[in-house]
């Protein structure tokens, strides 16, 4: 009887684990809405020194590598 109970308990625990793993699936990451060949939307944002920067400031002057990062103080 004791062995039966242990087996049942193990099976139940296993089922709970499987359910937990299945629920842990992350939602799909966002897909960029701006595609190659499209005009990059303009913006006005403040830099680390308090200066406003517009994307359009560089129009006709420089190419821009616009690098979105997740958080300050993290890698990458």
């Amino acid at each position: 009887m004791k062995m039966f109970r242990t087996a049942m308990l193990t099976a139940a625990l296993g089922a709970v684990c499987v359910a937990a793993v299945a629920q842990d699936k992350k939602p799909a990451p966002p897909e960029p809405t701006i595609k190659v060949g499209e005009t990059a939307p303009d913006f006005k944002l403040t830099d680390q020194n308090g200066k406003d920067v517009r994307l359009s400031d560089f129009r006709g002057k420089k190419n821009v590598a616009l690098a979105f990062y997740v958080f300050a103080f993290t890698g990458g």
């Binding site: 992350k26 939602p27 990451p29 966002p30 897909e31 960029p32 809405t33 701006i34 595609k35 190659v36 060949g37 499209e38 005009t39 990059a40 939307p41 913006f43 944002l45 403040t46 830099d47 680390q48 020194n49 308090g50 200066k51 920067v53 994307l55 359009s56 560089f58 129009r59 006709g60 002057k61 420089k62 190419n63 821009v64 590598a65 616009l66 690098a67 979105f68 990062y69 997740v70 958080f71 300050a72 103080f73 890698g75 990458g76």
Partner: protein
């Protein structure tokens, strides 16, 4: 962003301005730029309007997805790099070469 700083001379030679963007405050960006020695602008998209405009708002993390857009002088997008590809700045240097920027 530190890795972009290491490629800055090559990107400047390709006539390309680096702009970092995140949903951090300007104060966090200032502290971070100082601590890692970043000299290019780190822009604060506080509230995430620009991040959303580019389709990069990740509601799970309440932050942007890692992405780099290479934009030509005409304002048109030349290349889009995502995630790991966006983390390595050599990819954007190579993209500048592919599009013969600064040549």
């Amino acid at each position: 962003m530190k890795s972009f700083q290491s490629q800055l001379a090559k990107l400047e030679a390709a006539d390309t301005q680096v702009l970092g963007v995140s949903m951090d405050s300007p104060f966090s960006n200032k502290a971070w730029a100082d601590s890692i020695g970043v000299t290019f602008p780190l822009l604060s998209d506080w509230g995430g309007d620009t991040t959303r405009k580019y389709g990069l708002y990740n509601s799970t993390y309440k932050a942007a997805r890692r992405a780099t857009f290479l934009i030509g002088k005409d304002g048109k997008v030349l290349e889009v790099h995502l995630d790991k590809q966006a983390v390595d700045p050599h990819n954007v240097v190579e993209a500048c070469e592919r599009h013969k920027l600064g040549k």
